[in-house]
Symmetry: D2
């Protein structure tokens, strides 16, 4: 029995059971194929903690190498057609040429991420810095990023501010707010129509007393003032312990202000582990809110799905493949919940039946479904195994060690 036959057999058993549950698998397959996940250029490069950076053989260093690795991930999964850039880490002289290079690899350039934290001047903040000179420098960098967006045909400016203070009294909270609102307004004014500014929040780190955009409430409040092109970006690792993230997803979706995700997972703080490794059910519940929200014709389905992880203990390309596959499987599980039965149980106050219906989706083993989708689309049903067999890793280790 070939691998394809093995998966086909398992898929048939799966499909029979889902048909009996009243699930339209063709529609599920279509949704999964349309679900694109953007991978970040920096996820292919070396990273670490404050205690040290561990170098991996073959890790990408140039923008071109990062694109090549991302293209490999797209080739193996079929759902990662775009790559987020970080400026200046991916700075090049000719962005048109970089776009063309990406196109030649079968991918496009995605969200542009400014860097407002690594320069010495930003020690006391960037857009919130008490010094007008530093704010001007930070603004210039953001303007440059907007220009890059236009050159790379990127649709999203993905803005994360490390701004904050470490000590009570260090700066005036409200004055920082005023500076922030003024600067964001100036950047917003340059965002082209049809593009978006995604405003990320984070509870803490690298600031340890106040953070100027610490939670979704501040992101939301800022985006409301800025206008329609500004939306909130949710990073799964940026919340207080216990925060119900799927509630925030549902709330922002309903408000028309959910811009996108930076997927990863954490057990403690902003650990940047691979998505789903600690609490996979939470990701399922997030997808379930998306599936529910997208049934409402009022609500914008344009959500940017992006990974943002730090692969220290895992080989970078494999970690990315694993994460993409996990997200596909989790979305599939969310689609296997029978919305009608769930609704019925909810209205009847039947908490047990409602939860069991959710679990019927979550507990399904969707690997055969994903394998069949890949087979039907000419992709190897087992992307990680395919990668290991491809010789790609050996090739880049050799090439890049020069």
């Amino acid at each position: 029995m070939t691998m394809d036959q093995k998966w086909t057999k398992r898929y048939e058993a799966f499909a029979e059971h889902q048909a009996a549950r009243g699930i339209d698998l063709q529609s599920v397959k279509k949704s999964i194929l349309a679900h694109h996940i953007e991978t970040p250029s920096w996820g292919y490069a070396d990273s670490g903690t404050r205690f040290g950076t561990f170098s991996q053989a073959g890790a990408a260093r140039t923008a071109q190498q990062k694109l090549a690795d991302a293209a490999m991930v797209h080739r193996l999964t079929g759902v990662c057609p775009s790559v987020a850039l970080h400026i200046p880490w991916d700075k090049v002289d000719d962005y048109a040429a970089l776009s063309q290079y990406a196109a030649s690899l079968g991918v496009t350039l995605g969200a542009i991420n400014p860097n407002l934290f690594q320069e010495t001047e930003y020690k006391m903040g960037s857009l919130c810095n008490p010094s007008e000179k530093v704010r001007a420098k930070a603004l210039e960098h953001c303007y440059e990023c907007v220009e890059i967006m236009q050159k790379t045909h990127s649709k999203n400016l993905s803005l994360w501010l490390a701004d904050g203070t470490d000590y009570p009294g260090q700066d005036n909270i409200r004055e920082r707010k005023h500076r922030l609102e003024e600067c964001l307004g100036a950047i917003y004014d340059r965002i082209p129509n049809g593009s978006r500014m995604l405003v990320e929040y984070k509870m803490f780190e690298p600031s340890f007393y106040t953070t100027d955009i610490p939670d979704w409430g501040v992101s939301y409040s800022l985006c409301k003032k800025l206008g329609e092109k500004a939306e909130v970006l949710i990073d799964l690792g940026h919340h207080a312990q216990g925060t119900n993230i799927e509630f925030i997803v549902a709330y922002l979706l309903d408000e028309g202000k959910l811009g996108g995700f930076h997927f990863n997972n954490r057990k403690y703080a902003d650990d940047d582990l691979t998505v789903g490794c600690i609490n996979p059910y939470e990701v399922f519940l997030i997808y379930r809110e998306l599936v529910d929200g997208w049934t409402d014709p009022r609500l914008n389905p344009d959500v940017a799905f992006m990974l943002d992880q730090s692969h220290i203990m895992k080989p970078k390309i494999e970690a990315m493949l694993q994460s993409v596959i996990f997200l596909q499987e989790t979305y599939a599980k969310a689609l296997l919940v029978h919305a009608g039965r769930l609704k019925e149980a909810q209205l009847a106050g039947d908490t047990i039946a409602a939860e069991e219906e959710l679990k019927a989706g979550y507990d399904a083993d969707v690997k055969p479904l994903l394998a069949m989708i890949r087979i039907e689309n000419g992709i190897d049903p087992e992307p990680i195994a395919a990668f290991r067999k491809s010789g790609y890793m050996e090739k880049i280790i050799k090439e890049r060690s020069k």
Copy 2:
């Protein structure tokens, strides 16, 4: 040396030092006298945890007894002229009579707090309940509370919702949001001009999966939609661990949406301990943000300062006295920060000097200042000792044990 002489002597040393620091103590004294703290009727009655309620001898049971105890607290501190009511716990036939009784004791009736959690019908929610009939009942109760406000000349409807769900799938998050917005709108429409609706948030408990108003972001978003008469109420025990509450205070103040406080303290969850018992510096930092905000003429100084605590291990009236005194002392410390020097250090990026200026306020021993204010206003300089000497406790134990 009499007690007054002893305090006067200590005050003189204190005043000399503050004068040398450039602090205008007359202005500080005026601010402290004007700083009124509302005590809650339910803080004088028995309370407990889910593991049991411990009864205290003399604990108030009727609305009249609670008012009498609150009046005693006002008599001993001079700054607690109003008493928050909880409906139906303080329900009476004749609110005009209750107001008159309060007036006869020297106090007034303060915020009206509806109860949307103790009835069996509210198990799956009140204003967010899937059942229209239950929502109607909850609305009726809120309308009744608005009517009581008018009868009692209360200026604040203090709204806390226990609504939420315990299990994923139990109800639809966005539909609950729609129900909530519709119901709050209906209540808001009845709030008289010149009065306010304070919308409280709470991370969790008694709901353990979703809470319909879980954080300041939701309260804020709701209040923005409702209008000018709706403002956010901050309870110090209702946040995730690590949340920077003073940041939220500054943010809401700057947005014109800070309605008031429910003061208490916690180490873990919504422990409802007496304010300042776990992290007194946090309360100081909150007051410091208020003092800073009030210097901005754009910002509304009308913030409701209310206690909301559960006195299990402490005698109720003494716990209230201790809490009021702590808030006065903390406000005093915030007023002792020299705003000019702080600003200067901040602009110079001198984090050490900025923090030292904050600490110069915080580390001051303000007991002599508070004692002098009381003496100057004909109040015993040591309210708890005065209470113990008063015989009040013995009297109510005797009277109320009948």
Copy 3:
């Protein structure tokens, strides 16, 4: 196709796949059948939060009713042969008669749980109370519970102390420790050979400043001093946010001090939701540590698996069924991990392969396996559906409403 045929067909596909993975399903089935879960008498009775108790029609009130409900759960699952008792909630005059009644229903009496928190005297603690008289009362109650153990042939005294303080300064931490050690020693001396004292820990609630047994470290330290018959009891809801519970399980197992579990789940504090409802993967990881530990012949396999939940939003018997089924499924998943392949990947430093092997167990849909085990043992493959069809609920509502 009958339901049994349907499950048989799904089981065959499952079994074929697991065989290909090298899993010995007969051994898995045997382990699952041998995995007994004790249900608590109080889980069949009404419960609530500090904001109110919601009564459920048919909820058990007497010890006999609780046993009857527990027996129904055992009948439907086959793996819940014992019932934990809480004294005095389940106090009866004749424990021999109660044991016989249990036997007539097909169940036995399990762990005895003393109550050291609901009496007024315990406000400042029970075994740690500064008053010798109160400690003596608490000791007497524990001695009585040890006597009940002997009458009921219970093997476990399950000790949870609510002791602690609410305010800094309220009592002396080290003196409370000395009182605790002395009292526990006195109880320990009465524990019959062959029986155990399980010492539970809890971070906080109902005490909100210190708790006298706040973490596994204190439980462990106490048990080491007490001796071999004392072991640590882990309640899944009693930890700080972020705590790695499976690490504690592995550590205690390795130390020979893991006595048992109180299963439930929480998102925030000690929410007492049904096990697995918030983070099912965590429970899987706990079982995986048990499976790993039990391969070590040095380590005691005698771990007490008990539920301890508060069913507010779910009907009590169904909530118990759902929880037992979840634990069985989760244990099954842990058994489907291929220990050899996992070990190999670990030693090779192949984090991806190691995690994928874990996930191969977790992601399996084990419902067909569990159904087949039930069918093979003469039990309905779908216990909750069977319960709903049984008429039991209608019967007890009718009987108990009298």
Copy 4:
């Protein structure tokens, strides 16, 4: 009026009040003078977060420069006579010469801190690494550090392990435990009599799933097995949110296993801010437990007080001065609590009076007391101001920029 006269005057008012409270100030002064705080060499060098390191002009780079800065701190405070070293950051060829250099500056070499985290080999752990070769390397480094201890006459080996795993399944928890116990035993055997091995714990970071020594319970359990020379080291930033650290202090003190402290403060995770900047009351409560414990003649008073902070936003020497002063002030406040009155209130169950007695110590303004102690010992009463006037900073910026 000179500065000394000003402080003397304030001190007299302070002393009069404390005398009235029954406090023996001579004894307090003696205790404060005897309270030595060790500063860490790395606290004088540049540091940062994973997002970047910000260089400070004049920051020490060599071991000699760090000693010089530490000596300056000792000169200005009189209570910091020893300096902790970190190997290999402070590695030198001739430790005898380094000791002599330290002596020439008026300081001695303190705890030796091995580095088991920055080398590539330690990615999967040091003493817990699955590879025997890596463990041997880590052991060799620890042996070297023990040798350095002997050359430097250091009394403490201060051991922090970054060991842990990032992903479920990555390694076997119990096998890591066995490796750890074996390696620690081997190191312990080399600790000279009269010296100690301090075993630090940390909840997480840089490991994000398991940490091999995650809490005091594991440290304690390891130290109990190792023997009398092994004691627990508490770093204030290494706990879960909400953890009651003063309880752990009291517990370990009572068990004879409290070895020392790494002082710092945090609001979120291991933020490494300067001690007392977020919750100064917590540090007071810790000192209060020490003061209480030291009255028990059974208990070892030998506790190592060390700072371990990361000064990003503050100039390093000033940050150290500020921290030392804070610890002195806090210890002084703990000594001002009247132990007799506290005890009396506790035994009477008078929670209010007990807390008020604690607060009488905490709320005291002890700056005049500290100033007087300094004046009496020939030190400038205001160390930070003295440092700013000293010209030292300008000097090292000039010298070290070469």
